[in-house]
Amino acid sequence: MPIPAGVKKVSDTIWEIPVSYKPGMLVPARIYATEKLLSEMDAGVIDQVTNVACLPGIIKYAYCMPDGHWGYGFPIGGVAAMDPATGVISPGGIGFDINCGMRLVLTNLAYEEVKPRLHELVDALFYKIPCGVGSTGFIKLSHNEFREVVEKGAVWCRKKGYAWPQDLLFTEEGGCFEGADASKVSEKAIDRGFDQVGTLGSGNHYCEIQVAKPENIYDGKTAKAFGFTIPDQVAVMFHCGSRGFGHQVATDYLQLFLSVMEKKYGIKVPDRELACAPFRSKEGQDYFSAMKCAVNMAFANRQVILHRIREVFSEVFRRSPEDLGMDMVYDVTHNTAKLETHVVDGRKKEVLIHRKGATRAFAPGMEGIPGAYRETGQPVIIGGSMETGSYLMAGLATGDQTFYSTSHGSGRTMSRHQAKRMYRGTKLQKDMEARGIYVKSDSWGGLAEEAGAAYKDIDSVAEATELAGLSKRVVRLTPIGNIKG
């Protein structure tokens, strides 16, 4: 995309679009990107981030992170803080896959130990973690039991033996958003999700075995604090969300908001995907409670998947997961709305932050991150494509410029159909294996759609994120094994 007229360069990594750009904008929009990344963004990003700037109650700016791309309603990579008293909550600012997120777990194994067992590991992960269209999990729950899952999140998993106590400490918000109320969730949402706990899903969801090569350690002290202590240490990263349950919660409330937004609250938005309701209204509060249920479903889902990953490594290496050092580094959410306290114009203020395809990145010393990371800042897990690599980053004090929000992944640049035309899943698998990455997928077509070239260059995204002061690089992780839905 050529950089449109009216987009003002604030710094090498900040681009501002003034309120005069579009009628109805209440605040300017800010895109965080290098000139190269900005020029690679689709035109939809500008349109969507300026639409977000029109939402009632928005504070400071409508933001787009360096990995931003065209979404629906908000761009992917969109961040907006609302005044809870006067502002709105919008499902389009959170996404259909509520609390789609990343989790990173360590091992104390070096690449040389894992390499001879890689096929066995990937095959076992593929068998133990259901993925793809219509997959169901191994935990059999009644609808009422599932309601408990969505109200308690990872806390439920701990009670059932699927979590180590410290797992919860290393999960954003302790693995449970307080105030989740299953009575605000439709029966249809329960129907879609009650048998999906412990499933990966499809599309860009994956589970990946990775290596931290010594030359890819950017900050040795922080890497050590995050648990990377041996050369070529192997870790497992995975990406998934709240499955059909969360998708239905978003669908239900999008429709409800459309029916009341204009008629009852007199709010007009430029795109139906931005349907919203005042945060303090009954509809707004009901959605907030239902959304928290979906957040908790995703925490439980990732926790159960972690349990299965530990089982697989334990079976393959005939050692306990504790002995294999399979501690969590962290679990971060991507698609949420949260009440957080931030300094706005010199005063502490509670704000409702929408992050859609964006990660919270709290700085050193901030409340809300585990004691072990108080000095390093919150770990930020940036998932790249299955061919290129991913990053572990850390929050910085300068993240205050975006309400401590940062990138979440590499972001797509190529459509799914284009990728499928250019790559064949079978050939891609062979080529990747020749390069030392063993990948297994539920669908050849789905695999081709996730080819590395369909994504932005993850190194550029991580670099821009650091240059902008949103978070700093700690470790670059190289893929060696991957399962995909």
Partner: protein, 143 residues
């Protein structure tokens, strides 16, 4: 039933345009396009189960939106891959309604060539318009 996937409006997701000579045809085309994202060859879906749905919508396009959502719902809730077997649409308004028989079967990984899952039907650029040739729907699916 004609539909085509389009590339320039949804980088990470899948968009399609479906057409039909009348409203019934465009609804069937859009349903086929939606299921075609998940299953490579729709002819592999046997008619072993039937589901009857009655839906309403304040706008005609929302009636289509609700139908496509039903297909996504049944795929997860009952693991049913469904196609529209017959459909009747009352387009008199002010509230529009449809009655449809959906037919298909439970998802079987051995027989159904599966592709990517549809998370949701979005309202991004969602449209149903009357054209000179009949009707055209534009839909973006969240993947």
């Amino acid at each position: 039933m004609p539909y085509r996937y389009i590339e320039d409006i949804a980088t990470a997701d899948i968009a399609f345009e479906a057409t039909g000579a009348d409203l019934t045809e465009v609804f069937v085309s859009a349903a086929e396009a939606t299921m075609g994202v998940m299953v490579d060859d729709l002819s592999t879906i046997r008619k072993a189960a039937e589901v009857f749905v009655e839906l309403t919508g304040n706008e005609l396009d929302m009636l289509l939106y609700n139908l496509l959502n039903e297909l996504v719902y049944y795929k997860d809730a009952r693991r049913l891959l469904l196609r529209v077997d017959s459909i009747g649409i009352d387009e008199r308004g002010p509230v529009f309604s449809l009655k449809a028989k959906l037919a298909g079967e439970e998802l079987d990984r051995k027989r159904h060539p599966l592709k990517v899952d549809v998370k949701a039907v979005t309202l991004h650029r969602f449209g149903l318009i009357k054209t000179e040739e009949g009707w055209k729907a534009t839909v973006v699916l969240d993947i």
